[in-house]
Symmetry: C2
Subunit: 213 residues, 2 copies
C-alpha cells in the first residue's frame, strides 16, 4: 500500500504567521492547507503567495463551498490551488460545479463530509459526480464535544469507491498510525504541528510515524 | 407593519467593482452585503474598505460559516460587520459560536437555511440559541434549477419566532412586492440591481416598489 500523503492544516488568521508555519513544516509534509477561517480572512492573495513560496508542494484551499460552486472555486484554481473543497451538505449541482472547475484546470475537488447525515450515500453520489477526494472531517466544534473521525473513516474506506480518502479532525502523534492503518490516502494534521513549540520537529515526528506505520 | 429593509447582495469577485456597485445603489438600500465568493476572494480588507466608505449603512458579510463559529466570525465583527451568517446545516455549537461573537460586539448573527432539510425545526433551534435573523435562501445553483424561496418564507414567517426573517434568491421587481406582503423583515436583491445597465436606477425602482407595497 502506498504511504499516505501528509497535509498540514494552517488555521492561523495571520498572513505572515501562515507563511512562517508553512515554511517550518514544509520539508516534512506533502500538502499545505489554507484553512477556512484563514482563506476567508486573507483571500486570493494568500493563495498566490503560498503558490510562489512553495512551488513543489500541493496547495489545498479549504473553501467549504456551499453555493455557486464553479463560480466560487474557479479563481482559486486560477491562483494556484491544487485541491479545493465543497461541502457534502451542498446541493449536488454545487458539488458538480466545483468538480467542473477542478477538471477545467487539471486539478482536484474534495467533498467534505462534515455534518452530512448519511455519509456513505453522499460519498457514493460525490464519486459518481467525479469528485477526486472524499474528506472525512470531524469539525473543530465537534472535536471540542469529544468526537473523532475514526469510525467514519473505516466506513468510507470500506466502500471501495474510486476516490482518494482524506481524514481530518484532531489527529496527533498518538493516533496517526491508526489512521494510516485504516487506509486513508491523505492525513491532515493541524494543531499537533502548528500548536507545537517546535513545528518543524513536530512535522518531522509525524512524517517518521507515518513512514514507520 | 414596518417596511422591510432592502439588502444589496454584491457577488462580483472584484474589489473595486464591489465598491463601485455599492456606491451606485447605496442611496436606495439599507444593508450592503459582501457575498460569499466575494469575501473568500477579498478577505477582511474589503470589509474594512466598505466600513470606511459607508459608515451609515449596515454591513452584511455572508461568511456561511460551517465550523469554528466564534473563531471565524469574530475578526469580521471586529472589522466592522453588522451581520455575519452561519449555515443552518452546521452544528448547533457552531451556530452558537457565531451568535456569541455577534453578542460580544453588540451585532447580529443570521442563520442561513440553505439546504436545511427541516427548516422550521432548525429555525426554532436557532432562535432558541439567540440567533437574530433567519435567512430563507434559495441558492444560485438552486435558482438555476428553477427553485424559489417563497413557500419557505411563508412557513418560517408563520412560526412567529422572535427573530427577523430575511429572504434571498432571485428576487426582482416583478416579485418584490409579494415578498413584502409575505412579512419578510429583510429583502435581499442582487442580480436585479447589480446586473442592470443602470444599477442606481434599478435600486431606486426596488425601493419605490417596496415603499408602495
Amino acid at each position: 500500500m502506498a504511504k499516505p500523503l501528509i497535509q498540514l492544516a494552517l488555521d492561523s488568521l495571520d498572513f505572515g504567521t501562515t507563511l512562517r508555519l508553512a515554511s517550518l513544516a514544509a520539508p516534512s509534509v506533502d500538502i499545505l492547507e489554507i484553512g477556512t477561517p484563514c482563506i476567508k480572512h486573507n483571500g486570493v492573495p494568500l493563495v498566490k503567495a503560498m503558490r510562489a513560496l512553495f512551488p513543489d508542494k500541493k496547495l489545498f484551499v479549504d473553501l467549504k463551498t456551499m453555493d455557486a460552486g464553479e463560480y466560487e472555486a474557479t479563481p482559486f484554481y486560477d491562483a494556484g490551488a491544487d485541491i479545493c473543497t465543497v461541502l457534502g451538505v451542498a446541493d449536488l449541482s454545487t458539488i458538480k460545479g466545483v468538480v467542473t472547475a477542478a477538471n477545467n484546470h487539471g486539478k482536484q475537488a474534495q467533498v467534505d463530509l462534515i455534518n452530512v447525515p448519511n455519509k456513505a450515500e453522499r460519498a457514493r453520489e460525490a464519486a459518481e459526480l467525479g469528485a477526486h477526494i472524499i474528506g472525512i472531517h470531524t469539525g473543530i466544534d465537534q472535536q471540542l464535544a469529544g468526537q473523532t473521525p475514526f469510525a467514519d473513516l473505516n466506513e468510507i474506506v470500506g466502500l471501495g469507491l474510486n476516490v482518494q480518502v482524506s481524514v481530518a479532525g484532531g489527529i496527533k502523534p498518538e493516533t496517526v498510525q491508526q489512521v494510516v492503518q485504516s487506509g486513508a490516502n491523505i492525513i491532515v494534521v493541524g494543531g499537533a504541528i502548528t500548536g507545537s513549540d517546535d513545528p518543524a520537529a513536530a512535522a518531522r515526528k509525524i512524517r517518521e510515524l507515518v513512514d514507520a506505520a
